[in-house]
């Protein structure tokens, strides 16, 4: 786990309220795997908004840089999105678990909104591991205005995204789930809003395909000390109802462990 004050080295508004940021943070970039995240903060001496750091998935790791895909949600993500080139933030990471591909050959990735982030890292990360798999990426947004450019996705991730919008203004009309014939997938990975994750889980369960979900919960420490990011889960060994920490036991969970 690395803590570093890292400068913004690239910043681009990529869609409505959506920004692409790159930080110079070689050690984190080297270690980060898809699904893992960094805490992005401003240190303890500035108690402005935000005081607590904010979790964000590592979306790319080119040339010693950590790329993040940030959607403005509240005051914290707004401040992060407004960082100027050269400004430094405190990065802590990489944190959490990653998607585990095992022997899967045909991997279906289902992303909702900025849940796209981990899947931007996935293809090149697999390359770096010398690991081959057929990846298919479904990417859904509510409206076209917030869609991350498919060319940019291609450039960052080297993968083509199958885009779905509910208003039909970009890509196909509908939700990612409308595009989900699991056709041939032997593993489903998903990240996005909880409602979507639940639907993905049902689909995969029905089809009998293993499924891993990256979930979100409020965080303070990102490293297991505050016990704040617990979500209801099922203990895989005892079958008991327990809580698991999203920051250390997650954010990627086997779908069947989640107690929703």
């Amino acid at each position: 786990m690395i803590r570093s004050w890292s400068p913004v080295v690239a910043r681009e508004r990529v869609a409505e309220e959506t920004f692409w940021l790159e930080f110079d943070a070689p050690e984190i970039a080297e270690q980060a795997a898809p699904g893992q995240f960094v805490m992005v903060g401003f240190g303890a001496s500035s108690w402005g908004t935000p005081f607590l750091p904010r979790p964000n998935s590592v979306a790319a790791a080119p040339d010693g840089r950590v790329g993040l895909l940030i959607r403005v949600y509240g005051a914290g993500s707004r401040r992060i999105s407004e960082l100027a080139l050269g400004e430094r933030v405190l990065l802590l990471g990489p944190l959490g678990t990653r998607f585990e591909l095992g022997d899967a050959r045909n991997v279906l990735c289902i992303a909702g909104g900025v849940g796209l982030a981990p899947f931007l890292l996935l293809p090149r990360w697999l390359d770096r591991q010398g690991r081959e798999a057929n990846l298919r990426l479904l990417y859904g947004e509510r409206v076209g205005a917030v869609v991350f450019n498919p060319e940019k996705i291609q450039e960052i991730a080297g993968i083509e995204a199958d885009i779905w919008t509910e208003d039909g203004s970009r890509g196909s009309r509908g939700t990612v789930l409308d595009g989900t014939g699991l056709d041939g997938a032997d593993l489903v990975l998903s990240c996005g809003p909880t409602a979507m994750l639940k639907a993905v889980r049902s689909l995969a369960r029905t089809a009998g395909v293993p499924c891993q979900l990256a979930v979100e919960e409020h965080m303070a420490c990102g490293m297991g000390t505050c016990i704040g990011c617990a979500i209801p889960t099922i203990d895989p060994e005892t079958g008991e109802d327990v809580y698991s920490l999203v920051c250390t036991e997650g954010p990627v969970f086997a779908a069947e462990r989640l107690r929703w």
């Binding site: 303890a44 420490c221 000390t225 016990i227």
Partner: protein, 305 residues
């Protein structure tokens, strides 16, 4: 050369900066990032008699210059602590002092934990968390003078180790509660725990926190913590550990000048895990600049005309 050490509880703290209960796990979690054994010490997450799963999500959220938490004392329980946590502490912490934070809902709960730990080594003493609701009385131990007196007296009988009581600020006169602890045998006090608070999501019209209410910590409560520390020191002779919103050496020094012998850092460790070591370094620098050779001389050095 500045001497940052503090003599209290019959031992020497190499410096006055500890990590606060519930914000540093059991020390191990931070050991990847900082040299935990270089700190003054750590206070463990609350230990209860039984393992506790804690509250449903959402457990934490940011508030202005602070945070709200309702973890619900999630912890591994007395046995889990002895089996899973204490061995690491014993092995890795020899210079940093360890206080075990103890929580419960009845006098028996607290005494049970203390008795269960009394024969173990690897830690210095106890910090008693009296902010949990008292099963018998309904209110907190920490807001009821009689329950507090009984609890402290019972714990005093159960241990010869340093017994520190952590006070809640949620009372009219914290000095009264400080006195009660001293009179019933406490060796020290920690001021303060969190303030009760609430955060509402105006879109869903629901509380943000699963437990509805939670405790407020962080810089927002620093002036209240300094006040409580100052009030408490004016009523007791036993040493005090200052807590609440400390982010840097200047904040720590406010507490020390107000009368704290030691301080604890909690929420700020989330903003930056280097806060504690930076605070130690900063204290050394301020002392050097001000020509102070022993930080202990600053305890209670506030000049009120």
């Amino acid at each position: 050369m500045v001497d940052l050490s503090q003599e209290l509880f019959g031992t020497t703290f190499q410096n006055p900066v500890l990590l606060a209960s519930g914000t540093c796990g059991y020390g191990e979690e931070y050991s990847d990032l900082i040299a935990v054994d270089e700190l003054g010490g750590i206070v463990t997450k609350a230990v209860t008699p039984e393992r506790r799963l804690g509250n449903p999500p959402t457990r934490i959220s940011e508030t202005p210059a602070g945070m709200i938490n309702a973890i619900g004392l999630a912890n591994v329980g007395l046995d889990g602590f002895k089996r899973e946590k204490l061995p690491w502490i014993r092995e890795h912490l020899s210079r940093a002092k360890v206080l075990v934070n103890v929580a419960g809902r009845s006098v028996e709960d607290f005494v049970g934990v203390v008795e269960g730990l009394e024969d173990e080594d690897g830690f210095l003493g106890y910090e008693i968390n009296v902010s949990c609701p008292n099963v018998e009385g309904g209110t907190m131990f920490g807001t009821d003078e009689l329950s507090l007196a009984q609890l402290v007296a019972a714990l005093r009988r159960a241990t010869r180790r340093p017994l520190v009581v952590k006070l809640t600020p949620n009372v009219a006169e914290i000095g009264n509660f400080a006195r009660i602890c001293e009179e019933n045998g406490a060796d020290g006090l920690s001021t303060i725990n969190t303030f009760p608070g609430m955060l509402i999501d105006v879109e869903t019209r629901r509380p943000v926190i699963g437990n509805v209410t939670g405790g407020i910590s962080g810089p927002a409560i620093k002036p209240m913590g300094v006040f409580a520390t100052w009030k408490a020191t004016s009523r007791v002779e036993i040493p005090i550990i200052g807590i609440g919103g400390i982010c840097n050496a200047r904040d720590a020094l406010e507490y020390i000048l107000a009368g704290a012998s030691l301080v604890q850092i909690g929420t700020a460790m989330f903003a930056d895990p280097f806060t504690a070591p930076d605070t130690i370094r900063g204290l050394r620098e301020i002392c050097e600049r001000q020509g102070v050779t022993r930080a202990a001389d600053l305890v209670g050095a506030l000049e009120v005309r």
